[in-house]
């Protein structure tokens, strides 16, 4: 159960990081216009 918790924590971190990387790319590209 504790491992499952650690797994979920890692997945949540990964999702946040990927979403904010998309935001970074969006902000960067949108500033071109």
């Amino acid at each position: 159960m504790r491992r499952l918790f650690a797994n979920r924590l890692a997945v949540a971190t990964g999702v946040i990081v990927v979403v904010l990387s998309l935001v970074f790319a969006f902000l960067r590209v949108s500033s071109m216009h």
Partner: protein
Amino acid sequence: MQYRDLVRKAIWSAIYLLFILAPLFALLAGNLPPARNFGTEFSVALGYTGLAMMGLQFGLTARFRHVTEPWGEDVIYHFHRRISLMAVGLVVAHPLILIAIGSPSLALPDSVWDIPWGARFAVLSIGSLILLVITALWRQQLKIRYELWHLSHIVLALVAIAAGMLHMVGWGFYLVDPLKRTLWIGMTIFWIGLLFYVRLFKPLFMLRRPYRVTEVRTERGDTTTLVMLPDGHAGFRFKPGQFGWLTLWASPFRITGHPFSFSSSAEAADGRVEMTIRDLGDFTSAVKTATAGQRVYLDGPYGAFTIGNPTDMHVLIAGGIGITPMMSMIRTLADRGDTRPLVLLYGSKTWDSLTFREELETLKTRLDLKIVYVLSQPPEGWTGETGRVTAEVFRRHLPPEYAAHEYFICGPDVMMDAIETALGEMKVPLARYHSERYSFV
């Protein structure tokens, strides 16, 4: 206490995310080179965050007590393993996205010698990361000795991070800006500094605070207890159920330490600590050859596996040598004159291999303690529990308000998985049970 832990977990999670994402978004500040297409910018962001996540791995394994305490060391180490796969995934996705969108930056020059250094470092970094993951996931199948693997793990991580940083600096673009370059190089130095903290600063501290073995005691079940006293200092205070890293026959600078639970009472006034170690091969086989007077080093205490609310019934579930943290709890409660109700479910192979059997029976007279032995190979005429500790054993021996008890579990992985499932079926909330896996490294 639980609310305080929740707040600490939230704060440390926020700091962790901030260390990964703030340096990325700092790249958007000040003067910027012209933006490239969305795919390129996204892939670059993944490269930066992937590297930051890899660098912070040094922080996760740096044994910072304030960081690990609210989670427990086992959760931190498991997170370390899982998040490294994510980080490597992000780093590998970086060139794959560039290939997929046909980025001109990946066009190969006519000669190998014309490949820019920035690209060479990228290959070195990704190669090291892939090797690092392969050796970590399949160390046993590849038959790599633990000590050699541990050393190679650190070297590969260092190479991956240093080469990744050189790739970023060599490629320029965002890091052409001296402030941004300084920020990212500073971050890299900080990550590597965390490694030096564990491998240099902490061992230096331990070297100045040695311990001396005062007794080597043979216990039931092919097990040895080392009794250790601080040598020239006051020692440390620990909570029952916590553990420390033991270094025997070597200097504290040695790359591989060995984690063991303390088995003694936390109330010892002279800083005395005991570790009870079962012969399971490798290092543990040699422990019985330790001698009184021998100098040893201890790094600790660590771990969140410790007794809580005094009003609750505590159910201690031990499998084999998983009895050691429970023994520390029981001895401590006896020394404190604590009369909270305790139930110990103690699983072992045979009657003769029950470590601390006699002392446990004596401790029953000083505590409100009920002991249930569960033997997988019972002797003839045994009328007690047999097989493994299961939900049925719980139901036979515990008062039925199962969700109101506090559970502490330590033993082999298979046993712990089965018990955690059983507790889930019995509707025991997650916050009510605490587990310690002695195979977390």
